[in-house]
């Protein structure tokens, strides 16, 4: 029962899982890097980053590089813990069978 509880709904999507995976091993990643790595469209990626931002799992930093706006993402402490818990839950689920 407790194992199932640890499966986090916020990560229950390929793109969201991907965003978190990339951000776990990088200090930060910008929008285009995520888009390239995940093969997602602008709108799709934006809605998923927004969802993760709402859950306070990632933080968003908007800045200008020259004149171009640049959005970069990084994980929050809460997000890292939640993601680790989610992975552990996945592992346990698989090992059980």
């Amino acid at each position: 029962m407790s194992i199932i509880n640890n499966i986090n709904k916020a990560f229950d999507h390929r793109i969201r899982l991907g965003i978190m995976s990339i951000l776990m091993v990088n200090e930060y990643a910008d929008f285009n890097m995520l888009k390239e790595l995940l093969g997602a469209t602008d709108g799709n990626l934006a809605s998923h980053t927004k969802a993760l931002e709402k859950a306070e799992y990632i933080s968003v930093e908007k800045q200008f590089i020259g004149r171009k706006p640049n959005t970069r993402y990084s994980t929050t402490k809460l997000g890292r813990t939640a993601f680790k818990k989610h992975i552990e839950a996945l592992e346990k689920l698989i090992n059980k069978q």
Binding site: L17, G18, S21, L90, E91, I94
Partner: protein
């Protein structure tokens, strides 16, 4: 979700982490030291050419040529050894593995332009076109940095751009090759290494 879906999730996580991670333990200090070695080597070569050759900085003769080549080799070797030692130390501090996918990828992408450039320089030298080597070294080193920057601290690409521009100028004005080499390999390394050191190494 079925078990298979979860397994797929996990393999995708692993794959993305692998693909996107960069090797960030490059030491800024090793850049500073490489710059200092380059300056010492260049000063020694300058002294040799002024005292034992005819004082023209892009036509070396006989043993002066061979000793300046040896100096170049020693400078390169010392820089590489210093780089490896300091980077290993920093990687340990960061809990980053020195030899994993990210560092392998970094080295591979750095070495392709560099080795091609090195071989090309040897060919040019064997044809006696000494004036071009300074520029070529700068250009290929710059390209190597730009290529490597995608797999490490992104900032090193700016150093790469600078080296490329200096190299192109040196190719056009071979007479300044020696001085541009000093600027590119000596001074730029020191400036950049210092900047990197304060930007990345000092962070807790």
């Amino acid at each position: 979700m079925s078990n298979e879906d979860y397994l797929k999730d996990i393999s995708e996580i692993k794959n993305l982490m692998n693909k996107s991670s960069r090797f960030i333990s490059l030491s800024g200090l090793s850049g500073v030291l490489a710059g200092i070695y380059a300056l010492i080597g260049a000063a020694f070569t300058y002294w040799l050419v002024i005292n034992y050759s005819d004082g023209i900085l892009y036509i070396f003769h006989g043993w002066v040529f061979w000793s300046s080549m040896s100096i170049l080799l020693i400078v390169a070797l010392l820089s590489v050894i210093t780089g490896i030692i300091l980077t290993t130390r920093k990687a340990k501090k960061n809990n980053e593995k020195i030899w994993d996918n990210s560092s392998r990828r970094l080295l591979f992408n750095f070495l392709i332009p560099l080795v091609v450039g090195g071989v090309y320089c040897i060919i040019i030298l064997s044809q006696g076109r000494y004036g071009q080597t300074g520029g070529l070294m700068l250009i290929f080193y710059g390209l190597a940095l730009v290529s490597a920057s995608k797999y490490s601290i992104g900032d090193i690409k700016y150093l790469g751009y600078i080296e490329i521009v200096l190299g192109l100028i040196a190719s056009y004005y071979p007479g300044f090759g020696f001085w541009l080499w000093i600027l590119g390999f000596g001074i730029m390394h020191i400036v950049y290494g210092t900047w990197m050191h304060f930007k990345y190494d000092r962070k807790p």
